[in-house]
């Protein structure tokens, strides 16, 4: 019954596609050599993506094993739909893994096993990944990252006209942009010449045809097939003109197929339209429908949508009802819940929606398709008026949770508030308190700290009178975590003790969370036992399969390592990034990349830092803190290199941190802005950028933050006493002892700061050394200052010793002056201070200059007057 495609459409679909076919064949040739590829084929609807792949696959049919999976246009797609398609076709464990609702990494393992099992090279075709569910996209990402090693050709198509800025597929595309073995092919519309070739046999006006269709091959084909002499104005008119030429039975069949997105299985066609084989042949002959391996489909999804919209609404509902009834007794015996829920809603069958949508939600959640799960619960909630309060509250809670897991936490907040109201109305205090605690955590995630604190206070007030309970333990834990994140270390540890008293050892999740929080708080106070606690939480979480908590453990360690310049930890960071990649913890991975970039900056690896940042700063990263971390590091790289466009990055970071009061958000912005102000020599801007954050850092005992701020404020020319209790290398540096500071920075592994310390020396040899170090780092901004100082010796940038000593002398110059006053000659001074005689000459010249003295004797007298030397 497979009918050859109509020649006119085949011709139009493959015109001007030779280059693209060759590109696909090259990719396949690489695969046959053992080097896999992932090729994205993109273009507008109707541009001929599927046709290109059909042509490619038919050429490789003998040489390759071809596995095809499609994402479907159900309003809420089937989780892992395309891989379920593939699993149904092969014998291995893939189908079983998906049917059993295994988590994405397991499904990926089963897929890899399947792909490696064949003797022939394998080609995997994934159609319409712009419609893919979250779990499918995770797997596409994994396939891309390992494309070369897997030795398989994966071709994924997507529609560019359905890809808004924040589309999840864009994250995957951005992530894979720089990965070897990942290619892109974009399909352009037909040229006027190609359209003219097609129009000629029917005598159509080629120019008109090209203008109206914009060279879209599908549209062109529909016009040609409609047999009209005039070109219809829209693609819809063209499709309907074509179907109008079919007889009534065939049109009835077409309607039935049109209400089923994508493919309609033959058993389903029979179940809803009866014995219509004759009509089916007519539809296939006319080219409106296409025969597939497992059923029939419209030649193009655009045509299906057009026909579906043209069905009279009442008849459409009846058809959906028939499909729903048929899908409840599927030929395979396995219920497809996402499809059932879709048709239940379209059929207006409320009871069926309430039965099927929550089950579809559970199924989606189980495989990690959280966006789809949330959409299924929302579908049920649209019809939940008749449900009891308990049922309603349960659905609300589940939807809020799935929104959170899908990274759309804000959308779930009203649901949680409604659930809390339900429990309060029912008088269920325990559940009300538990939900309040959840709400607090979610608000925290959305950077609504004040509202979060209010909710957690309320939760504790509701739960405490009910006695010790796991819910109360969780509320204490949340309060502890909030305090830790605000770096109120004492409060964090106190709440943590209360929580640990209540947490049952068997409740691994609660224990892991609190160990992480308390350990992090201790590390913030530089108490080393904190590390053991966090490491233990990671260990326990890993053993219990609590992936998010493992990610959180790595996240905290990375934060504190970056904060305290603990670079020994870098190896563990790579492990954390790999873990998050493997387990689809996208946000956690971005955090780790951002902290890695910060550490790369501090270790003088600026190019690596910029590379890490390009991944994070894709258009889809919305999380404010991740963006702040990335923006500030990139701005600092640009400022230090003397490159343009750092100001707009800092402005964005500043606006993202507005209204947030913790150091995690505010410190990176304040530090980067103060540093920029320092290079510009603007003490006023440095003060405006850092006054309040410095005060906050000192109050919280965040010694590295206060140290770095004090350091850049000093370099910006702010005259103030060095604050007590800042991190030691900064304190040494600010004391003016550049030698000790340089040694300390070198030991820590911070070459930029070490070079800046050398640049504080007066000795030209040292300055030259500093200049070399800055040159190696690419630090053009600081290098320019040193070059200037070398050029006109004696004129120097502000340094604390300069300011603290009379007459603007540096501490080294004071030393030299004292020896001059003691009557020593330059050679003797050089020997005493372990300097070259030339350096001493420079110092003496500068001293005379600064003191306005003409001779050494005048300078000695001035030294006595300034109290630097005793009268002899």
């Amino acid at each position: 019954m497979v009918v050859p495609a109509v020649s006119a459409s085949a011709a139009a679909e493959l015109l001007e596609r030779e280059e693209e076919l060759v590109a696909l064949e090259d990719a396949f040739a690489a695969t046959r050599r053992g080097e896999g590829r992932l090729v994205f084929v993109s273009g507008d609807a109707g541009i001929g993506k599927s046709a290109l792949l059909r042509a490619f696959c038919s050429r490789q049919e003998d040489a390759a094993r071809i596995l095809v999976g499609s994402c479907d246009s159900l309003r809420t797609p089937r989780p892992l739909g395309p891989f379920a398609d593939i699993g149904a076709r092969v014998d291995g464990s893939l189908g079983a893994a998906i049917a059993a609702g295994m988590a994405t990494p397991k499904v990926f393992d089963a897929l890899v096993q399947e792909l490696r099992s064949a003797e022939k090279p394998t080609v995997v075709v994934l159609e319409d990944v712009h419609l893919a569910d979250e779990a499918t996209l995770d797997i596409v990402g994994l396939l891309g990252r390992r494309a070369v090693q897997l030795g398989v050709l994966v071709v994924a198509t997507y529609r560019t006209d359905e890809l808004p800025r924040a589309h999840p597929l864009r994250i995957v595309l951005g992530d894979l942009a720089t990965i070897a073995g990942v290619l892109r092919i974009h399909l352009d519309p037909l040229s006027p010449a190609a359209v003219a070739t097609l129009a000629a046999p029917q005598g159509l006006d080629a120019e008109d045809l090209h203008a109206k269709t914009a060279g879209n091959p599908f549209f062109v084909t529909e016009v040609l097939a409609s047999g009209n002499v005039d070109v219809p104005a829209t693609v819809r008119d063209a499709v309907l003109a074509r179907t109008a030429r079919l007889d009534d039975t065939a049109r009835g069949l077409l309607d039935a197929v049109a209400v089923v997105p994508q493919l309609t299985e033959l058993w389903l066609v029979e179940a809803i339209a009866g014995d219509v084989l004759g009509a089916l042949d007519e539809c296939l002959d006319s080219g409106v429908l296409r025969a597939e391996e497992r059923g029939v489909a419209f030649r193009h999804e655009l045509a299906r949508l057009t026909v579906e919209e043209s069905i009279d609404p009442h008849r459409r509902v009846l058809l959906h009802r028939a499909v729903l009834a048929a899908l409840r007794r599927p030929a395979s015996g396995r219920l497809d819940l996402a499809r059932l829920a879709h048709h239940a809603e379209a059929a207006g069958d409320i009871a069926a929606v309430l039965e099927l949508a929550p089950r579809a939600g559970e199924q989606a959640a189980a495989v990690g398709a959280h966006r789809e799960a949330a959409a299924q619960y929302a579908r049920a909630l649209r019809y939940a008026d008749g449900l009891s309060m308990v049922e309603r509250a349960g659905l609300l809670e589940r939807r809020a949770f799935e929104c959170y897991l899908a990274g759309q936490g804000r959308e779930g907040l009203p649901d949680l508030e409604e659930a809390i109201a339900c429990y309060r109305a029912m008088g269920d205090r325990q559940k009300e308190g538990a939900c309040l605690c959840l709400l607090a955590s979610r608000r925290w995630c959305e950077s609504e700290m004040t509202a979060a604190a209010a909710a957690i206070d309320e939760a504790i007030a509701v739960l405490e009178p009910l006695g010790g309970s796991p819910e109360l333990a969780r509320a204490y834990s949340a309060a502890s975590s909030f305090a830790m994140n605000e770096e109120k270390v004492e409060a964090a540890l106190a709440w943590g003790e209360r929580a640990l008293e209540l947490i049952d050892e068997a409740d691994t999740e609660a224990l892991v969370y609190q160990l992480n929080t308390s350990g992090s708080a201790e590390l913030l106070q530089a108490r080393p036992e904190g590390r053991d606690r966090v490491e233990r939480s990671i260990e326990l979480a890993e053993a219990a399969g609590l992936e998010v908590d493992v990610g959180r453990g790595f996240l905290q360690l990375a934060w504190i390592a970056a904060r305290t310049r603990d670079f020994e930890w870098a190896g563990r960071l790579a492990e954390g990034i790999e873990y998050c990649t493997q387990h689809g913890l996208e946000l956690w991975r971005l955090y780790l990349l951002a902290y890695r970039a910060r550490m790369e900056l501090d270790r003088g690896r600026w190019e690596d830092a910029a590379d890490s940042l390009s991944v994070i700063l894709g258009p889809s990263t919305e999380q404010p803190l991740v963006r702040i971390l990335a923006l500030t590091v990139l701005a600092t790289v640009r400022t230090r290199r003397g490159d343009p466009e750092s100001a707009p990055l800092l402005e964005e970071a500043l606006s993202l941190a507005a209204g947030v009061d913790d150091l995690q958000h505010r410190a990176p912005v304040a530090i980067a802005r103060t540093e920029a102000a320092a290079y510009a020599g603007r003490s006023d801007l440095a003060a405006a950028a850092s006054d309040d954050v410095l005060a906050l850092a000192l109050e919280r005992g965040a010694v590295w933050v206060s140290g770095e701020l004090a350091f850049w404020r000093w370099r910006a020319g702010i005259v103030e006493a060095c604050p007590a209790g800042i991190a030691e290398p900064f304190a040494v540096h600010l004391s003016g002892d550049w030698r000790a500071a340089a040694a300390r920075w070198q030991e820590l592994g911070c070459p930029y700061e070490a070079a800046l310390a050398h640049a504080d020396a007066d000795d030209p040899d040292r300055l030259q050394e500093a200049l070399d170090q800055l040159g190696q780092l690419g630090a053009a901004t600081a290098a320019a200052t040193v070059t200037r100082r070398l050029r006109d010796r004696g004129v120097r940038g502000p340094r604390p010793s300069t300011r603290r000593n009379p007459a603007g002398l540096t501490s080294r110059q004071v030393e030299v002056l004292q020896l001059v006053a003691d009557g020593l000659r330059n050679a003797e001074i050089a020997e005493r201070l372990v300097l070259s005689q030339r350096t001493v000459e420079h110092h003496v010249a500068a001293i005379l200059d600064k003191l306005g003295a003409r001779t050494r004797a005048e300078a000695s007298a001035e030294a006595v007057r300034l109290g630097l030397s005793d009268p002899s």
Binding site: S614, E645, G778
Partner: protein, 98 residues
């Protein structure tokens, strides 16, 4: 895409061989640039060949630095610029005068 002027110094003087070899050298640079989405529009070279001012279209300063290091070209300074065309204003004045 932003446009940049990239200043480079060649203390020994810049020497691009004539003929096919020079063309090949330039094309290699152009090809490596495309990896980062960087387009080399054209350059001005000082008479002594020691300094060049290169006009680039690029997504970011980092992309320019990356391709520069791949092409083993020095970078002194990157400045973002916009076109100012005196004749554009001249035309406008002419229109107003009419």
């Amino acid at each position: 895409m932003p446009r940049y002027v990239v200043e480079r110094s060649f203390p020994g003087g810049l020497a691009i061989p004539g003929g096919a070899e020079g063309a090949r050298a330039c094309l290699t640079v152009v090809e490596r640039n495309t990896d980062e989405g960087v387009t080399w529009v054209h350059s001005y070279v000082s008479d002594d060949g020691q300094k060049t001012f290169c006009i680039y279209d690029a997504p970011s300063p980092e992309a320019i630095r990356k391709t520069a290091s791949r092409n083993e070209l020095p970078v002194d300074r990157i400045t973002q610029v916009r076109v100012l065309d005196p004749y554009f204003y001249a035309q406008e004045i002419a229109v107003r005068a009419r």
